[in-house]
Symmetry: C2
Subunit: 477 residues, 2 copies
């Protein structure tokens, strides 16, 4: 008998057929109703057991968390909330779950508790929904880029370059940890290390991505990136996934168009394909926020918020305009901001970004043309001599979700910039060569995937949207 | 004027329209014909220049590798080999390429030379074709699993566990390299390290994948994995991408069905979508093999070989049968093998695998039911007490491309196995718990993505099918 997924069965109209289903028991109540889940959907299928027909020993093992194989007949449901149910003929216990020991019992568990059980939390409704949405978002990313002529590029994870400058790095080594070999200068001799030089985990695939864009035209990366920063916040991970498209012959305006179209498209995909999971997560969020004061609750329901993003244009605002808005804002005048905006050139803090997005514009905002001094060396200088063609996309509740720029394509300008920032040009010889041979305008951006998953699922801690989070002092599993 | 990709233009029937195209010059000959490529396809578009109408200075810069923007009229081609060409009206030099300096000139470069120029080799036909095929294969992987109800899981890259046992690992650390902190036992004090314990780069996402399969039912991973092995061969990388599906309620037969269907499907996808690139790679391979003795040349052309795989059943052969075949084979009797097969229990070497695949069966082969002693601790024991439910898929020219198994789902059996292999059970506490709570039959496999790209493109060195290869002594770019 062919094994059917619960997702298939719940939408099946082939009643009265004998079917086989396997899954994990979520609940067994009244010695009669098994709620069975197999991960294919948030919904359980109800399996109705005539307990008179089954041995006591079998019934005793029908505990939450047990794996069972059930043969039965698909019938129209007598109860509410489901169209079909299974009239059970045979039950096989595949693997029990002692209720004294299995931690995921049918009651409310705190997210903190579940983080300690990352191998089992996926068996809850909440994490099942989050991870199915995460998977769908991933597919939507690949699908969007493929449909638009981009090639997927696997940029290296281990990098010999420390010039990317996006943050603190993890060292990758096979040298003896206690007694590393030393060279003549009495320094660690990385020539003896696996790669013959010091190597780190990448903080970004952008530079290598640029090399590929300058040949394939349109590329994107989607891979893990790393920050060895001691940030124990609800928005930072030491290991996270990043999406970085890069496009030749594209300027900053085109880059903004691309980022906006991309985000709308992937959110549109999950709205279309993950409705059940999103509805569950929406209800979860409403429930969770009940204990919060009104002012801290979300202004929109989850699905409404997602549709708001897909259906409205992002506001495009220059950094200079944004500074004017912030300088004249109430919280600035009343000194409610922790960092008061006094003049042009100030780096925007999360509180300022949130004010712009959540209070002033009430929409996703694209800020562009930032002061050169607060942005990376590779961003293209504007004619004004003081700003660069950078852009950040700010989302409600999340803050920065995208950072991008048009890249400096002029060899001499880049060379000066590299020098001024104290970067060793030799480290970047190959990156510089992209400006020497067939250089052209090009642009790209990076999107932190977990921030997108946070936004889409309405969760509030980034540790809850990646299967096994890595944070300071935590690499369990 | 909208920018068009060369791929679009070459199949366009909108003749006599004014169009704009941007790309890199592959060749400029007779002061008249620019072959322009933008990475969207292996094919160049011919741009016909009336040199009388352009300043000398512009013409002088039309060198191989230069980036140009061209406005012109799409017309029916007068020459052979293309349907359309561009009658050029305007040329803008976006970025020159000094022919004295630009290394990728229109002549044959060795693959070894190009590896030193990994940032520029992508501008050759060969690497353009390889990397477009690689991208299409990646998409085919995601597409196959999504269409079949699998969820994509990002398993961790940094792992605190060293129990996976698949090979030597890279250490990930932020401790001072020269003077690491020591503990009371005068050993390196990893409590002071970023994660509060010793951490490494993952060799496999399987164990974490199993945790997710035992809740979501069907999952797959597709991410980077690492081996710190000093293997300087044409088949090994220190950093490579692996695909690892894992399915609950699936036994080894189902696992074989899945692997075969999966491989046929992704190869079918590139046959359908990458015909031009594959044809180019086929011609390249024929050209390359001309210098080889007949016996070393491929028996089938590239496309024929790919179709052979998609159209024929893989041979399924038990390890025991394979040993019989090998023992009685000519090269074994004539002692031509470097490792003579004498008895059941021998580990198969590459020469044996190749004999089975290339000489005996002349087809992809799935070997199954291996001796327990030569396989990993997590593979399910057969009733015979000496074999496990392992499978390897062997491909012509490549050898092992897939390794998988049904997993040991019985707590006590796994516990004994872990003990017998000297693994610290405490390290695997969470993995053991998967057998304690709702355990069930489950299976999965790992496919080394670069080996699949090697097979598909007909390349012979694995360094040529990943953008920036990492091997011993080499982490440039």
């Amino acid at each position: 008998m062919e094994l059917k997924s619960i997702k298939e069965l719940l939408s099946s109209d082939k009643l009265l057929q004998e079917i086989c289903v396997k899954g994990w028991i979520r609940t067994f109540r009244s010695n009669r109703f098994i709620a069975l889940n197999d991960g294919s959907t948030i919904h359980n299928i109800q399996c109705v057991v005539d307990y008179e027909n089954f041995p006591e020993d079998t019934l005793r093992q029908l505990n939450t968390g047990a794996a069972v194989s059930i043969v039965g007949t698909l019938v129209e449901s007598q109860g509410k909330g489901q169209a079909v149910e299974i009239q059970v003929k045979e039950i096989e216990i595949l693997g029990g779950a002692n209720p004294e020991e299995f931690p995921i019992q049918p009651k409310k568990h705190s997210l903190e508790f579940l983080r300690e059980k990352a191998h089992l939390r996926i068996r809850t409704n909440t994490f099942g929904a989050i991870m199915r949405v995460r998977s769908a978002l991933s597919f939507a990313v690949h699908n969007y880029f493929r449909a638009n002529g981009f090639n997927y590029v696997h940029t290296p994870i281990i990098t010999g370059s420390d010039a990317e400058g996006a943050g603190e790095m993890f060292r990758v080594t096979t040298l003896d940890a206690k007694n590393p070999p030393l060279n003549d200068q009495n320094e660690v001799d990385y020539k003896e290390d696996f790669f013959g030089k010091e190597t780190n985990l990448t903080v970004s695939g952008q530079l290598e991505g640029e090399a590929y864009a300058m040949a394939l035209g349109k590329i994107y990366t989607f891979g893990p990136t790393f920050r060895a920063e001691n940030s124990n916040t609800s928005r930072h991970l030491a290991e996270f996934w990043m999406i970085e498209p890069e496009v030749a012959f594209l300027d900053l305006d085109g880059n903004m168009d691309l980022a906006e179209d991309f985000i709308k498209n992937v959110l549109g995909y999950v709205l279309e394909h993950c409705e059940d999971d999103l509805k569950f997560l929406e209800a979860r969020l409403i429930e969770e926020e009940k204990s919060k004061p009104q002012a801290q609750r979300s202004e929109m329901k989850l699905l409404e918020k997602l549709r708001f993003v897909t259906e409205n244009n992002f506001k495009r605002v220059s950094y200079t305009e944004a500074i004017d808005i912030l300088k004249n804002s109430k919280p600035n005048k009343k000194k409610k901001f922790n960092y008061i905006i006094e003049q042009w050139g100030a780096d925007l803090q999360s509180e300022h970004e949130r004010y712009l997005v959540e209070k002033h514009f009430k929409a996703p905002v694209i800020l562009f043309d930032y002061p050169a001094d607060i942005k990376a060396f590779y961003m293209r200088q504007n004619e004004d001599g003081k700003t660069v063609r950078a852009m950040d996309i700010l989302f409600p509740g999340i803050g920065e979700i995208v950072g991008g720029s048009q890249r400096e394509e002029r060899y001499e300008v880049l060379q000066e910039k590299v020098k001024a920032m104290g970067i060793d040009e030799k480290e970047l010889w190959w990156y510089m060569e992209l400006r020497k041979f067939g250089s052209a305008t090009h642009s790209g951006f990076g999107l932190g995937f977990e921030r997108l998953v946070l936004f889409t699922t309405g969760m509030s801690n980034i540790r809850d949207v990646i299967p096994f989070p890595r944070t300071p002092q935590n690499a369990e599993f």
